[in-house]
Amino acid sequence: MKDPSKPLGDSLQTHKTQSTAEQTMERLIFSLSELEHLGQTLISGHSNFNHSSKTYLRITLGTLQIRRGAILRYHATGQNLDVVAATPDETFAPILVEPDELEALLKHPFIENTAPPESLKQFFARSTKLSETIDIRLWIPLKIQDEFLGMIGLGKFLARDTLEAWEMELLTTLAHQISIAIAYSQMVEGIQSEKFRLFMLAESAPQICQLLQPEAAAEQVVQQAVSLLDANAGALMLTDTAQQALEMHYAFPENLLENSTVQDTTNGNGLVISYGEDTPIPQEATSVKVLKSVVKEGIPGHCLPKFDTLFGGKNLMAVPIPGRDGDILGVLVVGDKEERGGRITSFTDEDEILLDSFAKQAGVAIENAQLHQEALEARQLQAEMEEARKIQVNLIPETLPDIPGYEVAGHYEPRGPVGGDYYDCIPLPTGHWGLAIADVSGKGMQAALLMATLRAGLISELSRAESVKEEALNQSSLYAEIATMAMILNSLLYASGTEEKYATFFYSHLNPETDILTTLNAGHNPPLLIRKDGTYKWLGEDVGGIPLGMFPNDMVSSIAEYEAEHVQLASGDVIVYYTDGVTETVNIEDDYYEEDRLVEASKACKDKHAEGIRKYLHNAVMEFQGEADQFDDLTLLILRKE
């Protein structure tokens, strides 16, 4: 028996020296052994047909004593035949097979190259390069039942023009063996591919769910989807429900959007697609429509390369990413599924189911990462709030000074997020006193820092005023001095914040010798003056300027200039300074405490000492509040003339 690996020339030598019967017998024995070899190749675990196709071709040519030939494998998705083995070993382009040609190929066990059926003439015209290179005489379609698997093309037969009957039977058997090998290879490849996909699907879920950074989760989701679907591109777009827009979060490869011709807005990652009802776009690109449809309808969508303007002409498949509550978090897109050999093929129904399953896991991962991020931000905010609270508490005096002839009591109670309430009682070198109460807009660190700025500015201005001999000031000079201070504080706060950052501020200059209280209101709640006889008055109600820091000084002058006024205090008079946390306290029925209740409560306790009034008013507010939640700090400053 001949060694099948020996060159064909040995068989030729034998042909010359032996009788025909002996030659036939030897070739039959050789063929039988080669068939056994084929069988062994098939079951040896060398499942990849492309890899072993050269062996199949060599055995076929050797058995039939033919110099040249080729084996072609059919790819149903690409509808073409690939030359997987050829003698001579050259590279050939895939040959397209039309559906009607496929039917014709299935009908014929053998086709002579010189006399093809009418229905296959076009096919053979497309195969000319291969036919001419190999000098193909005979084609043998490879099939199992009605499944077309490929073809064998055989060149010139050695020392004869046609194959004998027994050779044709042998060729039929060889072709059948090769068909089985291709089918087996396809089956194994399919199993391997499915095994890979199922494993990747099972593996990717816990992996991506462990990623706590939204950016890392987005990257992994896209890359896993690309790998899972044998795709060459992918993208994750997440919804911004407020803006009704799909925003690009990650694209693979990085330069995916380089060939995009979609005219739309962009974010840091390059693409934003609005999907709101009121944003119709004339002649809108199909790929954009598909993505909008996926996010709005919640069903998968496909787009052919010729209609893809998003990613530069790719075959796209997109699925919605569902959230826990059934809302759509975004869209996962894969593009250009590849086959062995680099051919781009269509995504199948199975692919769609697979990507849809993966998108559900991706939804959990994305939500996990988003929740983690929100928790982190909340923790950071909490830490910031605590720091801000410390700053704020440090700015409010622990104890208030004794003012001769007066009683002072203060109360600050944080309720909810850190606000910017502030009060102070500052002794002046002249023996006079500066009393201030303020409410800085906003919450958190910014509010606390703005409050610190205000306090620092106030103390600085009052120190500067030290040089002024207050005794020399008449009342109008004092008015001007306080108004100037307000303008300086306004300028200071305006420079350090934005329009949203401002402070309501009420300042009182107390001369305990004359009992004259000179006041200035910059948009603060007017303090309440309760006279001993029960009559009352709101201070700074009529001459109030706008809050500090809201507008630049030149605008303040034109809108509402800061103006001071004064009031003469008498024994038993009480002034209740407060922030809006008092009058805007709500009860369980959503009623506000409001100024009227403050007046009534103040009247009821006006004869108490300042500390007693503070306690009484606080209790009154708390009693009104009951079980209701509060979100603003509560601040009171009581000044009582003994």
Partner: protein, 113 residues
């Protein structure tokens, strides 16, 4: 080394192929070509370093299997290194680990050829 690239380092006894980028059909074919070339040149001890290849699809896997088969015919040895934990689990599940060694780094992969 650029992305989507292959580097080959040859020594007297063995050769190391290093890949970077997505191991799909395009990169896989390049890898296969290099491996076949080395095998044709008589190398039967190969190391494939996948440290810079974080993404592999099923075609990449089938190409790796082919390289294992080609080397097996020559009774050669193939060792992998630089695999991520997921890749290692994939290789074990796809039975690649049955026919090729998996090692954490080049040094140990070479030592076990």
């Amino acid at each position: 080394m650029n992305k989507f690239d292959i580097q080959v380092r040859e020594s007297k006894e063995h050769a190391i192929i290093e890949t970077a980028g997505y191991l799909n059909d395009a990169l896989g074919e390049k890898l296969s070509e290099k491996a076949q070339e080395l095998i044709q040149n008589g190398y039967t001890l190969l190391v494939i370093n996948l440290e810079q290849t974080t993404l592999i699809n099923s075609i990449g896997i089938s190409i790796l299997i082919e390289i294992i088969e080609a080397l097996d015919e020559r009774e050669g040895t193939l060792n992998f290194c630089g695999l991520s934990a997921t890749q290692e689990r994939t290789f074990r599940m796809m039975a690649i680990a049955k026919y090729a060694g998996i090692f954490p780094d080049e040094e140990s992969a070479i030592a076990n050829l």
